[in-house]
């Protein structure tokens, strides 16, 4: 199993599926949905096979494949996955079928082509897998940019109000970030000895001049900070998340944005360790501002989808702090957070989407007491909210806890301030749940016949796997932490962090 070309097949499979679905007749939307769903399930099966084949105590990068592409520049199709990439790949494979299932009726009534929508989703899956699987900087950049195109059309063609504005804003922000990275990629190629191979560049990186490395680091960091999004590059996300169809928004914040934090872990830290340490104080401050600022804005939102988008910006602040605290614990927490946030916010977006589809409006003030009409759906929303605010017992709790104690060992003040974000999280989630599902029934709701229909079997099938995973990983995160731990340790070693406390505690002794 070890030599099976998992990653190239995993990347290509959704692309083939997208081509198949795109060429189905426009009138036959039903067939397109089924083909897309089955196809994404096949991708999921393959990714599970890869998970099984991954050796936890094996090499840092596994499933390595390398094919000739542009010899003049030494750009190759090199795929390889470490633990961090592996969990993200499986997260994509889990989310996409659910998203397809959740968007089952979303585009039926619009005049747009149904097969095209599902083809775009599969094409997006291909680029997302590619970006996490690439171990060649050029290939990574290609996927990073191409990823924008299907998402742009999903938002722009199938989104809600202000979709054009949101789509263009999304595209331009990401493109601007991407072009900074392009300059850095070209520069890296020149100073790194005319190669794009991650391993070779890593070796060459030891000899980089300090200033060169810092500039290159910034080029990469800006691109990833826009993508993630970190404060102050975040303003596109509420617009994009608010305008995109809810299932696509789940994919956007659940996976697409993780490319930013993943890129920081894969490229910024190992290739430019000195620059990363130099920049860490600024990154930590940006993370803190993101946590507090976005949480405050989330409290004030009246639009459900924008509210969830803002919560996600706050969560990315946590992830950022965990990365730049430079301890294995915080790093593991961050990567775990990337997975858990994908599950929790993905679920939240999907449930909110179900509410919005029923009510025909995303405004919190248009709801009120909805729990009386659709108790099951309201219950799931409550659960998703609790998971999102990291209640103990749900998966995000463990990751947030790891981030905070990991950060506390090196940056006490930052950890204390970040903790305030948890309180704000409770505020925005509980307040949202209260205003939409609790209290007296909004009479306008009763007049919407759709609002009387509780969850269908299809919708239950969408949320059930996510709820189960959130609970499972909340009580037993070991399968995931085992996979990501070695990769995070290696990354922290690259950046030269010396963990003070955790190793001592692990040996059963009290830290001196």
């Amino acid at each position: 199993m070890k030599d099976f070309p998992f990653l190239s097949i995993l990347t290509l499979l959704p692309l083939v599926g997208a081509a198949v679905v795109a060429f189905l007749p426009r009138s036959n939307g039903g067939l397109a949905k089924i083909v897309a769903l089955v196809w994404s399930l096949a991708v999921l099966a393959l990714s599970i096979g890869m998970w099984v084949a991954f050796q936890v105590d094996g090499d840092r990068f596994q499933f390595r494949e390398s094919y000739q592409w542009i010899p003049t520049w030494d750009a190759r199709f090199t795929f390889a996955a470490d633990g961090i990439a592996l969990v993200m790949l499986v997260l994509i494979a889990v989310l996409v079928p659910l998203v397809i299932l959740a968007s089952w009726h979303d585009v039926d009534e619009s005049q747009r082509s149904v097969p095209t929508y599902f083809a775009l989703l599969l094409a997006l899956e291909c680029t997302m897998i590619g970006v996490f699987a690439a171990a060649d900087v050029f290939l990574f950049y290609v996927f990073f940019e191409v990823m924008l195109v299907p998402m742009y059309f999903i938002i722009g063609s199938y989104g809600g109000q202000r979709r054009q504005y949101a789509a263009v804003k999304f595209f331009l922000y990401s493109l601007v970030g991407g072009l900074f990275m392009l300059a850095a990629v070209v520069g890296l190629w020149v100073v790194g000895g005319h190669t794009f191979d991650w391993g070779n560049l890593k070796e060459a990186s030891a000899a980089f001049e300090t200033n060169t490395a810092r500039w290159l680091f910034l080029g990469f960091f800006i691109a990833f900070a826009v993508k993630a999004p970190f404060f102050p590059f975040h303003t596109w996300l509420p617009d994009a998340g608010g305008a995109a169809p809810a299932p696509a928004a789940a994919l956007l914040v659940g996976v697409l944005d993780k490319v930013g934090t993943f890129g920081i872990l894969r490229y910024c830290l190992p290739l430019f360790p000195e620059a990363a340490r130099w920049f860490a104080p600024a990154a930590l401050v940006l993370g803190l501002i993101g946590i507090i600022y976005a949480a405050l804005l989330a409290v004030g939102q009246n639009d459900l989808k924008r509210l969830v988008s803002y919560t996600s910006i706050a969560h990315f602040g946590f992830i950022g702090i965990g990365i730049f605290a430079f301890t294995t614990q915080a790093g593991t927490g961050s990567v775990l957070y990337m997975v858990n946030h994908g599950l929790a916010t993905g679920l939240l977006f999907l449930v909110v989407g179900m509410f919005v589809a029923r009510r025909g409006s995303a405004l919190v003030s248009d709801f009120g007491g909805a729990g009386k009409l659709v108790p099951v759906l309201a219950g799931v929303l409550f659960f998703a909210g609790l998971a999102s605010l990291a209640l103990p017992g749900t998966a995000p709790f463990i990751s947030e806890f790891l981030v905070l104690i990991g950060t506390f060992t090196t940056h006490k003040v930052y950890a204390v301030i970040a903790t305030a974000g948890i309180i704000l999280a409770a505020a925005y989630v509980l307040w949202m749940v209260q205003r939409t599902t609790q209290g007296t029934l909004n009479p306008a709701l009763e007049e919407v016949p759709e609002m009387r229909r509780d969850m269908s079997w299809r919708e239950k099938a969408v949320v059930a796997p996510l709820v189960l995973l959130l609970l499972l990983l909340g009580f037993y995160p070991k399968p995931v932490t085992d996979v990501i731990n070695p990769a995070v340790e290696a990354t922290m070693l690259d950046v030269g962090s010396t963990d003070p406390a955790p190793t001592a505690v692990a040996n059963g002794k009290v830290a001196p």
Binding site: I70, T72, F143, V149, S157, V168, L179
Partner: protein, 510 residues
């Protein structure tokens, strides 16, 4: 009086140019002899056959590296590569020029010198078959371009400049629709082009005064070991560069571009955007790399400023355009800036990446203008941007193709636009010109906006009542479009063969 010695002539090396000039002359004879109703087919066939034959010869003599006919012409890697590119792009533009099924009588009028609005003019706008002189004129222009990129002395270069410019001036005046605009464009192009030629010639005179010769090798030698005032050298270089930068549409010599691109018949605009750019940059590369290599530190900063200006002006003004052809014109100005970034790398990578960029851009821009020629209503082409709103709903295939081309212009990966930008930026950083790359990156961001706006208009706006339908392309336009789009995609996904070719070709003879 010694014995008169004729220079050695390598006819095989000259054959591509001889074929084109010969074919153009035969074309003129055909104008006089072939019956009117059959002229179009015959002329188009002759032009295509001559271009294909010339291309075949270029491929056949691909290993030649020599200076022939008394040092007037250098046949080397860049010459042959650029000649091949000009011929290839010329064939595709000829397909666009030859199209007659979209519009009755084609895109050209039969007589340019008829008063606009007169009875005669209305009659010829109605559907009289257009002039067939366009084919010999186009072939003359392409022949001149082949000579331009091969010229090894500045006088030959001047002759070539005139040979390819004069037919273009005429061709610009022949648009069937919007006659006044077309005539104005031709006049503007002619007047400004004449100035540019005059500058060029004056520059040649100054350089002759400096080095006592006009061939590039002697100038190189004289610059290395100056015996006269270097003011002559730099003055001459500046004036020659003005001539060349004018043809490349670099700022501040770009002002003709939007007007001429807008007014000229669309197939001719495509020809100018693709082939003239190759020729102009080919000559610029040769002059800078062969003759003035020794004084590179002196001209690099000046041309660097021009490159920055070109990129900025092209990108910023493209944002404000409301006419598709003008938008593409400003985009072509910005692209001239990116090409200059490649030129200014002043190393082997700079040469090869610029050549790659020229070919990649040529194919994309041909496809773009091919699409523009298809979006039309009763009045002719609908080039105002507002008319393109909702095109994606009405003609998804064409809107899709055009979006793809625009994404290529914006430099999104998996298109040739990305690989070529990557190549020139890489070469420039290698050559120590990081400042140019930074400006290049910033202007690319600006430039993405107008492209994106067009995509948004086509796909995300509702079609208005005035949204024209896309004409079904005839075979010729369809072929040109297909070639352009396939090349744009192929050079983005598998650029390796062409990159290798440009690398192998990137060596001038002196």
């Amino acid at each position: 009086m010694g014995e008169l010695k004729l220079p050695d002539i390598d006819y095989a090396a000259l054959a591509p140019m001889l074929i084109l000039f010969g074919a153009a002359c035969v074309g003129v004879l055909f104008e006089a002899m072939v019956p009117k109703n059959r002229r179009h087919g015959v002329q188009l066939g002759l032009a295509l056959v001559s271009l294909v034959a010339a291309l075949a010869v270029v491929i056949w003599v691909r290993d030649k590296r020599l200076v022939t006919i008394g040092g007037a012409i250098a046949v080397d890697g860049p010459t042959l590569f650029l000649q091949g590119s000009i011929l290839l792009l010329g064939i595709v533009s000829l397909l666009l020029i030859g199209e007659r099924s979209i519009e009755a009588g084609g895109a050209f009028v039969s007589q340019a010198a008829i008063t606009v609005g007169s009875q005669k003019d209305l009659r010829q706008a109605g559907g009289q078959p257009g002039a067939t002189e366009v084919y010999p004129l186009t072939v003359f222009a392409l022949g001149g371009m082949l000579l331009f990129v091969a010229a090894n002395d500045l006088l030959t270069m001047f002759v070539a400049l005139e040979v390819f410019s004069l037919p273009l001036y005429l061709l610009c005046a022949l648009a069937r629709r919007r006659r006044l605009l077309s005539q104005e464009a031709a006049l503007k192009y002619f007047l400004l082009g004449s100035y540019a030629s005059a500058f060029f010639l004056f520059g040649v005179a100054l350089i002759y005064g400096f080095s006592g010769a006009v061939d590039l090798a002697s100038i190189h030698a004289a610059a290395a070991d100056p015996t006269r005032s270097e003011i002559l050298l730099f003055g001459g270089l500046a004036l020659v560069a003005i001539g060349l930068l004018f043809k490349s549409a670099a700022a501040p010599f770009h002002v003709w571009t939007p007007d001429v691109y807008q007014g000229a018949p669309t197939p001719i605009t495509a020809l100018m955007a693709a082939c003239t750019k190759v020729a102009a940059f080919g000559a610029l590369l040769r002059v800078l790399y062969v003759a003035f290599d020794g004084v590179r530190w002196d001209f690099q900063p000046v041309l660097g400023v021009i490159a920055i200006l070109t990129m900025l002006i092209g990108a910023v003004l493209a944002v404000t355009q409301t006419d598709m052809k003008r938008l593409l014109a400003y985009s072509s100005i910005a692209n001239a800036g990116y090409l200059l970034v490649g030129v200014l790398a002043l190393n082997k990578d700079g040469l090869s990446s610029t050549m790659f960029y020229l070919v990649a851009y040529g194919f994309s821009v041909l496809a773009a203008f091919g699409i523009v020629s298809l979006v039309r209503d009763a009045e002719g082409e609908a080039t105002h941007l507002s008319r393109w709103a909702g095109l994606g709903r009405k003609s998804p295939v064409f809107a899709g193709v055009f979006s793809f081309i625009l994404l290529a212009f914006a430099g999104i990966p998996l298109t040739s636009g990305f690989t070529s930008k990557f190549a020139v930026f890489g070469a420039a950083i290698e050559g120590g010109q990081t400042w140019l790359v930074i400006v290049g990156v910033i202007t690319s961001m600006l430039l993405a906006f107008p492209y994106l706006r067009v995509i948004v208009m086509m796909w995300l706006s509702e079609p208005g009542e005035t949204t024209p339908a896309v004409s079904i392309p005839g075979f010729l336009t369809a072929a040109a479009l297909a070639i352009g789009v396939i090349a744009t995609f192929a050079l983005g996904v598998v650029p390796a063969p062409l990159l290798d070719l440009t690398n192998d070709a990137a060596q001038f003879v002196r």
